[in-house]
Symmetry: D2
Subunit: 254 residues, 4 copies
């Protein structure tokens, strides 16, 4: 079972709730995904009245854990402020730190992310920073007290899948906290691949909400995450040039 800080998650698939065509489709996709951790942008929530109109009131809060994110924040300070509001409103003390470095790519700002992580850890939050796939930065975030690290596979919403599996692998191998691959997953195969690399979980949103049939894709992702995890645990065969080759494939293909 996946444990992040004090919290246990049954599913290794975290689902974002944005950009669905309707609350009905959203609810069905959430159900089909099997997730028990939902993420959403704090700026989309009326934090004065977090039970007010929107999707949250429709959710059984006993059943789902909330992982609000600080999307839209461009500085550590903005991210910290959003997180505090979320906790004060009773929404969650677990937060996904997003400090965006760039409006075009929505890639995370390394310095701001690290700063916000430090501050929120100090204030007692359960902190999951969204970060690039830089292995050293991931380590610095862990040293800063992050309860998990969330490296991106490729830019948010790009559907490009895992651009740099080596970096993810380096992060995973050396992290002592859970690694949740976040952003860029486009298809079930991408999700399975991330889990096969040893990721502890996946967070995705657009790949489901933007699919032609979001509910079916949600179910596909659920199965893909399970498949990838089982594949990781089962220990895959090595890649070789041919079955009869005694050495691995790499020497061959340049």
């Amino acid at each position: 079972m996946l444990k992040i800080g004090p919290y246990e998650c049954q599913s290794r698939l975290f689902l974002g709730t944005g950009k669905f065509s309707s609350l009905k489709v959203q609810a069905e996709a959430v159900e089909a995904s099997g997730t028990d951790v939902l993420t959403f942008a704090l700026r989309r929530v009326n934090l004065d009245h977090p039970e007010e109109p929107g999707f949250l009131e429709r959710l059984n809060r006993k059943r789902f854990r909330f992982l609000p994110n600080t999307a839209g924040a461009k500085t550590a300070e903005e991210a910290v402020r959003l997180a505090r509001l979320a906790r004060a409103s009773g929404l969650s003390d677990m937060v996904k730190v997003e400090v965006i470095g760039d409006e075009e790519t929505l890639l995370p700002d390394p310095v701001g992310t690290l700063k916000a992580t430090r501050q929120l850890v100090e204030e007692g939050f359960i902190v999951l920073p969204y970060t690039s796939d830089d292995p050293i930065l991931a380590r610095r975030l862990e040293e800063a007290g992050a309860h998990a690290v969330m490296p991106g596979a490729s830019p948010i919403g790009s559907g490009q899948g895992i651009l740099n599996p080596l970096n993810l692998k380096l992060i995973i191998r050396r992290a002592k906290v859970p690694v949740i691959v976040d952003a860029g997953i486009g298809s079930p195969a991408d999700a399975a691949r991330a889990m096969e690399l040893g990721a502890d979980g996946i967070l995705l949103n657009t790949a489901v909400s933007g699919a032609r049939d979001p509910v079916r894709m949600a179910r596909a992702m659920k199965l893909a995450v399970e498949a990838g995890r089982l594949g990781y645990e089962a220990g895959r065969i090595p890649k070789k040039e041919t079955a009869s080759a005694s050495s691995p494939a790499e020497g061959m293909v340049t």
Copy 2:
């Protein structure tokens, strides 16, 4: 549901039965895979006494369909002879044609494969040729009457996954018979990827039998094939450079 000639398959995963460490592990992996089509080399079967020692007698033949292959054949003639023996012994009139061009790579011989396919179709077999990923050859095999085509993802037993997704996609898009991706699948993500490309099914063996935990990997593959198929049906998001990009990703990365 997948239909090959007159036969219907519940599962889109065909499992090879070779190279398991024991009949017990084999049986459990077969079970975990959810397959209903089993493949095996005819040269491993005592065709005079097909019910004799080996794994076949252990199988509930009502439950599984057999897809014997002509592995070991180096000419069309050898492949045809093996297929005839299989049918004469009551084993199966469905056959996977394997005419190997090369002992080292076990890659299929295009000319011999086409010739054997023609001959066996003429003799009334249900014929599934194992072929390279050459789209023109796949078409020629279909024109010769093949009931499905089985392009390789990479060399048998190599675990390298899909080396040329474009060729598979071209084959899939233009085939009127089922396309079963055969050979080279190494991990659940590979299986999911093949299904996302639109393959009708997958045949694999080493990826399961050679895994550290074959039974768990068999289950992983079952889920991956389902995930990939659902993902294909659900219609994935396009790849873009970034979420805000209006054009696809390709122009970007050269």
Copy 3:
């Protein structure tokens, strides 16, 4: 030096002459490429009067060797007929066999290509068949007497580069005749990569004629082919996960 049948080539870059915006640009690109082997479609040549209007009369035939191709042929018979006309007209006894299996992709037909190669070899031509990257087919062509084999990197004119480096490597490693990578090269890096795999030469056309600045691209390709060949001869460093890793990179990135 590259030797094909009785002919020696100074340059390892063969250039197609089609689709240039003007004869002037074509001539400058040919010059910049440093090639001494030019290829063109026989159907574009007036074989009754091969010296007539067109680009050929502009060329110093002492300086360039001609490698006419049978583009447009859909059967072995058509290809053979075109080759015979080319020789009868005094154009060349060296021919690139192209038997196209498909109008959409222009991928080669394996059976027709093999048949035409056999026939033309028997008739004393110097035969270079354009083929898929199927290693077994490449071997069959060599056994049929081909003086070189010309596997495609990706579909003609696609600019996708090398889709399956393993197949090219297998062909190169086992061929006793020169291997000229033909079709699909899009950029200098693609050309260098093919040469690093050990190819004896490259044939390209669209990558130069379709570039924004064809003459500059021709020069780029000349340098890239030289760079790739030198890199092949110089013996590249192995890929490793990190500099300190004792094992190759492959085990790492799945």
Copy 4:
């Protein structure tokens, strides 16, 4: 021509001078590479007597520009100290900032690199930080006054080539200072690819010094960098599924 701060470089290939088998091979490789910028680790130089034993005294300092690096530094402070010593000894006021986050991978520390860059810019150095391929960090370094940014293609000495071309492209497209791709280049094709992405230059060392024939590889790299640059300037053809396709290739291959 490439200009970094006040300095002009004739060649776009910067060569590291470490790990050659002999000073003779080193000198010949430097010559063959055509470089006019040499890089080396300051900790390898006797900074009290920079003219003393080693390779520097063999070099015509009129001909080569020196780009000493702070390899070995684990903190910004160490890097700054090394740079100051280099300048004080008259070696160079141009410095490649390396603050290593990790002994195993030698990947750069983002926070330390940024800090050292800020400090050295303030002290009037010409500063070229070695950084990850994180586009936001590259921008932060530029904002801090870096005169060029040097993103890694893959880990130092790994020879893995460009792991994430999208990130490099994003950095290149948005930088107003030169982008020199540093670390991980393994072969001429890798170098050409980086230049085709629009990099202003390449820094490499192991790919040459570790080759079987370093001098020949140095020449290969020289040609590859020229080829890649020309290819970039010449404007390559788009990637398409097939020549007849009207849309780019990406939609096709998932």
